[in-house]
C-alpha cells in the first residue's frame, strides 16, 4: 500500500522487520542488557543499541535480503532498516515500551536474553517495537506531505482495508471456487459470471459494503472472524460508516494511480542545497515575526480528537547521569607526537587529527557553537546527526580504510575517553546545537 509520504507500508516491510530483528539479536549479545532493568540507563542503552544495530546492518549491507527492494520508490531493505533504526532515537517512547516489556519478561524468567532458546521471545518484542514505530513514522510522514492530520491508528486502518481489498480481489479472481462467499460479498445469489469481479480493477473500484460483507462472511467461509467483526472491536465502528471506508479506499486508489510513475519518495536526506533553501525561509519568517508589531489572534491548531489510540507514554527520562562510566583521563593529548601514536594504533593516518582539525574552517556555524569541544567529539556529533558518510565531509575527516568517519570506538580512543563518556559529551554538544538553533539571534 502506498499513501502520500509513507515509506514502510509496502511489500518489503516483512524483510525490513526480519533484518532489524536479526541485527537486534546480534546487538543484544554484545550489550550490557541487564542495564535495561534500570530506568536510569535506558537512554544510554538506546545509544549503544543504535550503534550496535547500525554496525550489524552495515556489516550485512551486501546480503541478498539487505539489497532487496523495500518499497516501490527504490529504497532497499537495508536503507529502510537503517532509517527506521535512526527514527527510534527521535521516538524514544517505543524504546521505553520495549524496555518495559523486556523487564516484565525478566521478572518471569530471568535473564532470558542469554538463552538462545528464548530468541523467539525477544524477536517478538523487537517486532512489536518496530511495528508500532513504522506506523508512527509513516503517520508523521503523511502529515508532513499532505498537511492533513493522521495517526498510527489511521495508518493501521488503511492497511487493514488494503489487505481486505486484496483478499476480496483474490476471491473475485477465483469466483467459481468461492461462489458462495462472492455471493455473500456482493449481496446476491451468483448466476453466471458476476460482472463486478471483472469490473473491480483497483482498490478505488472496491465498494465499502463489499468490505463489510466480506468481513462478516469470513467467520463462515474462512473459519475466523473478519477484521470488522472480531471480538476486540478495534474496527467495529467502521461497520456502520461505509462513507468513511469509501473515502479511505478512494484515497489509497487515487494515490496509487498518482504515484505509479514516481521514481522516488521525498526522503529527508534531501538534495544538495535544500537545507539552506528552506532554512532561509525559516529564519526570515521567524525574523519577521520577531519584528512584527501586529498582534493578531493566535491560530494554533486545537489538539486533534483522540482516535482511541492506546498511546505510548512518550517521555524519555531526561537522564544524563553517568553510572558505570570509566574514570575520566586526567590529561588531554595536545601533543602532536601523542596524537600520531594514537592514530597509528587505530590504523588511521598518523597526522589524522591535525589534518582533520585544519579541514574545518573557522567561519563555520557549528564550530562557533562547538568550538570548545574536542575534534573527536565534534566528529561524533556529525556522525550522529548526518551519518557516517555525507558528501559534505572533507577528505581529511574520513578513515581511508572505509571512506567514512572513524567509528565511535576510534573516536573515543583518539580522545582517550571511554565510550560512555564520548556519548555523554556528544549528546551534550548536540543539546548545545538545539539550543543555539531554537534561539536564533539573527
Amino acid at each position: 500500500m502506498r499513501l502520500p509520504g509513507t515509506r514502510y507500508q509496502e511489500h518489503g516491510w516483512e524483510q525490513v522487520r526480519k533484518l532489524l530483528g536479526h541485527c537486534s539479536l546480534q546487538a543484544f549479545r554484545r550489550l550490557e542488557m541487564h542495564q535495561i532493568l534500570d530506568a536510569g540507563q535506558h537512554a544510554a542503552l538506546l545509544d549503544c543499541y543504535t550503534d550496535a544495530v547500525a554496525e550489524a546492518l552495515r556489516a550485512g549491507a551486501r546480503s541478498a535480503r539487505a539489497e532487496a527492494e523495500g518499497n516501490s520508490y527504490g529504497d532497499s531493505v537495508y536503507e529502510l532498516s537503517l532509517s527506521l533504526l535512526f527514527e527510534l532515537q527521535a521516538q524514544p517512547g517505543f524504546w521505553l515500551a520495549f524496555a518495559a516489556a523486556v523487564a516484565a519478561e525478566h521478572a518471569r524468567s530471568g535473564a532470558f536474553w542469554l538463552d538462545a532458546a528464548a530468541d523467539g521471545v525477544m524477536r517478538k518484542k523487537v517486532n512489536d517495537m518496530y511495528a508500532g514505530l513504522r506506523d508512527k513514522v509513516d503517520a508523521d510522514n503523511y502529515i508532513v506531505t499532505t498537511g492533513r492530520d493522521c495517526s498510527p491508528n489511521k495508518i493501521y486502518t488503511y492497511r487493514m482495508l488494503d489487505t481486505a481489498y486484496r483478499e476480496i480481489a483474490g476471491l473475485f479472481a477465483d469466483w467459481r471456487q468461492h461462489a458462495e462467499q462472492v455471493g455473500a460479498i456482493l449481496g446476491r445469489a451468483i448466476e453466471g459470471s458476476p460482472i463486478e469481479t471483472r469490473q473491480m480493477k483497483s482498490i478505488g473500484g472496491c465498494k465499502p459494503e463489499w468490505i463489510v460483507r466480506w468481513s462478516e462472511s469470513q467467520e463462515r467461509y474462512a473459519g475466523s472472524p473478519g477484521p470488522l467483526h472480531t471480538k476486540s472491536k478495534r474496527f467495529a465502528s467502521l461497520k456502520n460508516s461505509p462513507d468513511k471506508i469509501a473515502a479511505m479506499l478512494a484515497e489509497i486508489g487515487d494515490y496509487e494511480e498518482l504515484s505509479a510513475n514516481m521514481d522516488r519518495a521525498d526522503d529527508w536526506s534531501g538534495d544538495a542545497g535544500e537545507a539552506a533553501l528552506w532554512l532561509e525561509d525559516y529564519w526570515r519568517v521567524i525574523g519577521e515575526s520577531e519584528q512584527g508589531e501586529a498582534r493578531d489572534e493566535d491560530r494554533i491548531l486545537p489538539e486533534p480528537a483522540d482516535d482511541g489510540e492506546a498511546g505510548l507514554s512518550d517521555d524519555m527520562p531526561d537522564d544524563s547521569s553517568e553510572g558505570a562510566a570509566g574514570p575520566e583521563p586526567e590529561f588531554k593529548a595536545h601533543d602532536l607526537a601523542v596524537e600520531q601514536s594514537l592514530a597509528g594504533a587505530l590504523s588511521l593516518p598518523p597526522r589524522y587529527l591535525e589534518l582533520a582539525r585544519a579541514a574545518q574552517k573557522a567561519g563555520s556555524w557549528a564550530l562557533r557553537i562547538l568550538g570548545g569541544e574536542s575534534l573527536p567529539i565534534r566528529l561524533a556529533v556529525y556522525q550522529k546527526l548526518l551519518g557516517a558518510a555525507d558528501d559534505t565531509y572533507p577528505e581529511a575527516w574520513l578513515d581511508p580504510a572505509t571512506g567514512e568517519l572513524p567509528t565511535l570506538q576510534q573516536l573515543a580512543a583518539l580522545d582517550q575517553i571511554s565510550m560512555p563518556t564520548l556519548r555523554k559529551r556528544r549528546n551534550e554538544a548536540i543539546d548545545k546545537l538545539y539550543a543555539a538553533n531554537t534561539a536564533p539571534a539573527k
Binding site: 502520500p4 535512526f86 532515537q89 527521535a90 521516538q91 517512547g93 502529515i143 508532513v144 506531505t145 498537511g147 492533513r148 492530520d149 498518482l258 504515484s259 514516481m262 521525498d266 529527508w268 534531501g270 544538495a272 537545507a275 539552506a276 533553501l277 528552506w278 532554512l279 525561509d281 525559516y282 519568517v285 521567524i286 519577521e288 515575526s289 520577531e290 519584528q291 512584527g292 501586529a294 498582534r295 493578531d296 493566535d298 491560530r299 494554533i300 491548531l301 489538539e303 486533534p304 512518550d314 574545518q360 574552517k361 567561519g363 563555520s364 556555524w365 557549528a366 546527526l385 548526518l386 555525507d390 559534505t392 565531509y393 572533507p394 548536540i430 546545537l433 538545539y434 538553533n437 531554537t438
Partner: protein
C-alpha cells in the same frame, strides 16, 4: 578544491547540521501545531506569525517538517519553467470573518479573491460549491488542465475534493454534521484551497 567551492561545501554542511538539529529532536507528544494556511501566509509575507505561533513552530519538529515541505514546494514552483509565461498557483487561503457568523453562512472567499465557497441548504444538510474566479491569473491554466483541487478546513480535514469542471466549479455535499459557520469556527476559522499533487 577552489576556495569558493570549499566555502559552499562548508555552508552546505552547516545548513544540513542545523536542519538535522531542528528536525531530528525527540519531541514527546509532538503534533501539527499550525495549519497550512497559517504557514503559507507567513511564507508569502501576508501575515506574520504571532509570538505564540512562532514558539509553537520552533518547538515542533513535525510542524517544522511541514514548513520545510511547503517552503520547498513554493520555491520549486517559482523556479519551474511555466512560471515565466503562465502564473503558477500553489494554494490560496482565507478566513471566516466575524460578521459572517451572525447569519447563516452563504459564502466564503479566499484572501486573494480567486476562489469562493458557496453553501446551499439542501434537505437536512448543505451543498458546498467551490468556484474559481475568471479573473484569477492562473484561471486559464487550471481550466485547461482540469486540475484536481481540494478545500481543507483549519484542522486539515478535507471539505471537498475533485476536479474543476469547465465552468471552474466543483461541488459536493457538506461532509460534516455541524453547520458550515460553526464548523469553521471550531477549526481555527481558516480554510485553504490547494492543488492535489502526488
Amino acid at each position: 578544491m577552489k576556495e569558493n567551492e570549499l566555502k559552499s561545501a562548508q555552508d552546505e554542511q552547516d545548513a544540513r547540521l542545523r536542519e538535522r538539529a531542528l528536525l531530528a529532536r525527540a519531541a514527546p507528544g509532538d503534533r501539527l501545531m499550525l495549519a497550512d494556511a497559517t504557514l503559507l501566509a507567513a511564507l508569502d509575507g501576508s501575515r506574520v506569525l504571532t509570538p505564540n505561533e512562532r514558539q509553537a513552530l520552533s518547538a515542533s519538529p513535525l510542524t517544522l517538517r511541514r514548513f520545510r515541505q511547503l517552503s520547498l514546494e513554493r520555491q520549486a514552483s517559482a523556479r519551474s519553467p511555466q512560471a515565466a509565461n503562465d502564473p503558477v498557483w500553489s494554494g490560496s487561503s482565507g478566513m471566516l470573518r466575524a460578521a459572517s457568523s451572525a447569519t447563516a453562512l452563504e459564502s466564503l472567499a479566499t484572501d486573494d479573491g480567486c476562489w469562493t465557497l458557496h453553501f446551499l441548504p439542501q434537505g437536512e444538510g448543505w451543498q458546498v460549491i467551490l468556484s474559481l474566479s475568471a479573473e484569477a491569473p492562473f484561471a486559464a491554466r487550471l481550466l485547461r488542465e482540469h486540475v484536481m483541487v481540494r478545500v481543507i478546513d483549519g484542522g486539515g480535514a478535507i471539505v471537498l475534493q475533485g476536479r474543476l469542471d469547465s465552468d471552474g466549479e466543483c461541488e459536493c455535499g457538506w461532509p460534516f454534521a455541524t453547520a458550515p459557520a460553526r464548523h469553521f469556527q471550531m477549526y481555527g476559522a481558516g480554510f485553504a484551497v490547494e492543488p492535489v499533487t502526488p
